[in-house]
């Protein structure tokens, strides 16, 4: 039987669904019997999914265009592009 400590250490892998089925089964059995570990896993899942869905910093269109222009010159003329980039 897994200990609570072992379950918390495997919790992230459990969320990833990469564990072999025997290990998953062991964790599920433990979770069935242990409300503390159920809570730990619920919270870990919540922060993981929340972080995934948090708004991400987007590059403004005009900044992107400027960057592309600078790089384009170098892409087309790597030999003399180096001087231009500095």
């Amino acid at each position: 039987m897994l200990s609570c400590r072992e379950v918390t250490e495997q919790a992230s892998d459990y969320l990833e669904s990469t564990l072999p089925w025997q290990q998953r089964l062991g964790i599920r059995l433990h979770l069935f019997l242990c409300r503390h570990c159920r809570r730990y896993l619920r919270q870990l899942r919540a922060v993981t999914i929340a972080f995934r869905q948090m708004p991400r910093p987007e590059i403004p269109e005009e900044v992107m265009d400027k960057q592309i222009d600078r790089l384009r010159a170098y892409f087309l003329q790597p030999e003399d592009g180096i001087k231009k980039m500095d």
């Binding site: 200990s3 972080f51 991400r56 992107m64 384009r72 980039m85």
Partner: protein
């Protein structure tokens, strides 16, 4: 080109032939991810410069790129190495104290009895759902702050996995770490986000 990803082999051919449209598509497609990873490894002040240096290295390297890795993986690996090198240099200059190899274990060991049962169990939150976390600006600030406080390697794995949704295999390839190490870094990062929210819920602030 359109918005659908072009065939990789054809794309690389066009890039080698200095096809401008193909190049612009590649920059637009990968720029966001590159900036995200550069920030994760070396921090905001150097991120843009790292991305630009990476593009120069990519352009120079194109003739030698054999297509053994996917284009994205190859570009991000160049970026990760450029950023790691920069991290070392900035540390010598004392601008940062961060080290890539530094991976302090995040242990909640003190919360368990010797036999592994909870001694101080997880603190209950008002609501334990992603929706509740996303609905609160304060909690999002907490998460953002916790991410910013992570060691670079943990932050890099977390961002590529949970924000960019990349496969662990690709992430380990890009960061040049073992699969086991990747899993450990991800676990430590996520555990610290959970701990940050727990602290907040206990009234200890962020």
């Amino acid at each position: 080109m359109g918005s659908s990803p072009p065939n990789e082999e054809a794309l690389i051919k066009r890039l080698r032939a200095r096809d401008e449209e193909a190049f612009v598509w590649v920059v637009r497609t990968y720029q966001g991810k590159m900036l995200s990873l550069a920030r994760a490894i070396v921090g905001e002040p150097f991120a843009e410069e790292i991305v630009q240096d990476t593009w120069l290295a990519v352009i120079r390297g194109l003739p030698h790129f054999e297509g053994r890795a996917r284009l994205e993986t190859w570009i991000l690996r160049i970026l990760s190495n450029t950023a790691k090198t920069r991290l070392q240099r900035e540390r010598r200059r004392r601008h940062t104290h961060l080290v890539w190899e530094d991976n302090p274990p995040f242990s909640e060991g003190h919360r368990f009895h010797a036999r592994g049962h909870w001694l101080s169990p997880p603190w209950p939150w008002h609501e334990e759902t992603p929706e509740a976390l996303l609905a609160s600006e304060e909690l999002q600030r907490c998460l953002t702050k916790a991410v910013a406080a992570l060691p670079p390697a943990q932050r890099a794995v977390l961002i590529l996995r949970d924000r960019e949704g990349m496969a662990m295999e690709d992430i380990c390839n890009i960061l040049e770490i073992s699969a086991t190490n990747g899993r450990v870094l991800l676990y430590r990062a996520r555990a610290q986000l959970r701990a940050a929210i727990e602290n907040y819920e206990r009234g200890k602030g962020c």
